[in-house]
Amino acid sequence: MQHGKYRFIAGFLALPLIIYAIFVISPFVQAFQISMTDWSGLVGTAEFIGLDNFQRLWESDDFWNALRHNVYMLAIVPVVTLALGLFFAFMLNVGGKRRKNEVVTGVAGSKFYKFVFFFPQVISIAIVAVIWSNIYNPDPADGMLNSLLGAIGLDGLQNAWLGEKSLALWCISAVMVWGHVGFYVVLFSAAMASIPRDIYEAALLDGANRFHTFFKITLPLLWDTVQTGWVYMGIIALDAFALVQIMSVNNGGPDGATDVMPLRLYQTAFRDSQFGYASAMGIAMLIVTMTFALLTMRFARRERIEF
């Protein structure tokens, strides 16, 4: 029975595994192979050049500049997104005033808010980027943000946003947060719903306030979900390609201030026709992303609380 079971499972898995191998694993393997050539991407011939591309990458200021921006985003975007997501989810599910017959409730209109928060998630990222680049339009009459600031008398805060070297990266990061926070509100809401009500009840009887319930009950019981969200959000922060490519001034500008690794890769491949070098960048990105995911999994692990 035992060996028959595995054969049975393998039989079902064969087809998806073959498809996975062809369309996911083989491109990965090939990227390694291409990264050691000087392939232009335009013709079928390429020379093997060993690790030269990686050496070039190591010495490239542009690449380190791009990587640094990804690391900045990695440090800020997941924290802010998850914190906001947790906060909103808590308010929508637990944070409301106590009502009759209900131990914990969300704030009034929480169903509606949930819908609103989730909305950016259903819009394609390209559309999000276009919408926001119009919001950031520096024109004081046509740009939404600037005209809003003008209308409420805060002319002094009007800015060129994406055209401002010190602000551009954070303008794009803000869009990233905006675009993803809704997903985490819904994710955390679902997770919170599975926390037994009697735990809250006991805490409330002991006189715990919202602050205590959040940090002593909700957050520890959600830790697994938060950790998953962290990895997921981190990978998004290490990408950021679509937003930067569509929104940023001069493709990663002003003067390289918003350049990110995937954009550099794209430019190297499609503008400069250096697919070999671009593949080396892809490998470098893979290493960075994997390192991040492994470190997070390793150090964020905590004792599980069973309920």
Partner: protein, 482 residues
């Protein structure tokens, strides 16, 4: 959700499942070795000679296009749209009873790179726009059809005249890689300072002749509460259209060619560079640029200009078509030639005019003869005029605009073009080294115009960036002597 750990000992635990699938993945990897028939190993080497279909040549069909063989056209759909190409394709279809597959796109490079690598490129490509294919690489790798046959074929309108004789000499010059003519730049772009004639007339201003006059006029304009200049901060290379050309006009083409050829000290050793970059520094210091321009797209800056928020904008002749939706009826769009500086090497009225919209025919496509014939159709007077009417831009067919009514911007462009006569400048730097001009110098220029960077720094850094490219073996280098 919550925790799943309570169920870990039932059946295949999550951890075990992951371990096992990882193991399966490891087995799968080596077996994929032979399956991955490797992208680099595909066809497309020099082994495959063109087995192009060829029909009978005749007076009507000098290139010997075979009837009924399908043609595929890939047209850049940017400021000029792609309707003009569709019109020519319709004629091709009617004449040769062949299907024409048309694709209009803004992403020529990303879409066609894999097709060239795979050995099945489309026949005709309008390789324009920010994401265009690297034509130097394509040419050196034998992917481009030699268009000599097209040049020697009789033109559609007058069999006594060869195609070579009806197109502009600089188009013939620019389309060459070495001695082979393999790129047909169909349009002619006039670069310069664009303005509204009506606005100038209303205010009693005249288009300045020199850089100094420009600074003076900017002061007057600013007093009226209008910004003298705006530009597409999102694409700072728009500023280079004027900035680079102005350097070439004052310093002379020999000094500019040193810049094109990435020679040492080409930027730092050229006094015209100093004069022009300092001019822009002055404009920035006196706040003569519309506030926020550094964050505007080309469309947004053109719209602000159409709304008279700014008087001048550096641009190319496609602007009339591109800005048409926001241009007021009585705007009187006009373009002016380059300004005089001190000790100019080129006379007043010198203009930067570049053959543009590079059309290429893939030598390894399915119907290269059909591709050339489509170009011959497009070079007929009928289609050149259709282009001028539809997209308000000049073509390389020299006599095409004769006897037709031109739109204001096009008429103005045609006028400065005629006035410039032989004094046309053609710059290669952006075409050859877009990573240098658009990304690196563009970044510097962006800062120059916001006043964050001084002219002296701009020049020093520009030289350093150019030197870096000159030393980089992975960038294909070019040389020009004329």
């Amino acid at each position: 959700m919550g925790s799943t750990s309570a169920h870990d000992n039932e059946g295949l635990g999550r951890r075990n499942l992951i371990k096992r699938s990882a193991a399966l993945g490891l087995i799968a990897v080596p077996t994929m070795g032979f399956l991955s028939a490797c992208a680099t190993g595909g066809d497309g080497g020099d082994d495959k000679k063109t087995d192009a279909p060829k029909g009978e040549t005749s007076e009507k069909n000098p290139l010997g296009v075979k009837n009924g063989v399908a043609l595929e056209a890939f047209i850049f759909k940017g400021g000029l749209g792609d309707q003009y190409a569709k019109d020519a394709e319709a004629d091709f279809k009617a004449t040769y009873k062949a299907e024409v597959k048309h694709t209009g796109t803004q992403e020529v490079g990303p879409k066609l790179t894999p097709r060239f690598a795979g050995g099945n490129p489309p026949d005709v490509i309008d390789n324009s726009g920010a994401g265009h294919l690297d034509m130097n690489k394509l040419s050196s790798q034998g992917q481009l059809q030699d268009l000599a046959e097209l040049l020697d074929a009789p033109s559609l309108d007058d069999p006594a005249k060869k195609v070579r004789d009806i197109i502009h000499p600089s188009t013939l010059e620019k389309g060459k890689h070495g001695d082979v003519f393999d790129v047909l730049y169909y349009a002619f772009t006039i670069y310069g300072t664009w303005y509204s004639q009506k606005l100038l007339d209303d205010k009693g201003w005249t288009y300045p002749k020199t850089l100094d006059e420009m600074v003076t006029l900017c002061g007057e304009i600013k007093k009226e509460g209008i910004a003298p200049w705006t530009y597409a901060g999102k694409y700072p290379y728009y500023v280079h259209f004027n900035l680079f050309a102005q350097i070439a006009k004052i310093g002379g083409m020999d000094a500019w060619m040193a810049i094109d050829n990435l020679q040492p000290n080409a930027w730092t050793g050229n006094d015209a560079v100093k004069e022009v970059v300092e001019h822009y520094e002055e404009l920035a210091a006196k706040k003569y640029f519309l506030e926020g321009s550094q964050g505007l797209t080309h469309i947004q800056s053109q719209t602000a200009w159409n709304k008279r928020k700014a008087v001048f904008i550096p641009n190319g002749s496609w602007v009339e078509n591109e800005a048409a939706p926001t241009t007021p009826k009585d705007f009187g769009m006009a373009v002016g030639a380059l300004f005089d500086g001190s000790g100019d090497k080129h006379p007043h009225g010198t203009l930067r005019a570049e053959p543009s919209e590079p059309y290429i025919v893939a030598s390894k496509g399915k119907n290269p003869r059909g591709g050339m014939e489509l170009l011959r159709i497009m070079l007929s007077k009928e289609h050149a005029q259709n282009f001028a009417t539809k997209v308000k831009s000049l073509t390389c067919v020299v006599d095409a605009p004769e006897g037709m009514t031109l739109s204001p911007g096009l008429a103005s462009a045609n006028k400065v073009f005629k006035e410039a006569g032989e004094n046309l400048l053609s710059l290669q730097l952006q075409e050859w080294y877009p990573a240098l001009t658009d990304e690196k110098l563009g970044g510097l220029t962006g800062q120059l115009l916001t006043g964050e960077l001084k002219a002296a720094e701009w020049i020093k850094k520009a030289q350093a960036e150019a030197d870096k490219v000159a030393k980089d073996d992975s960038v294909t280098k070019f040389q020009r002597t004329s």
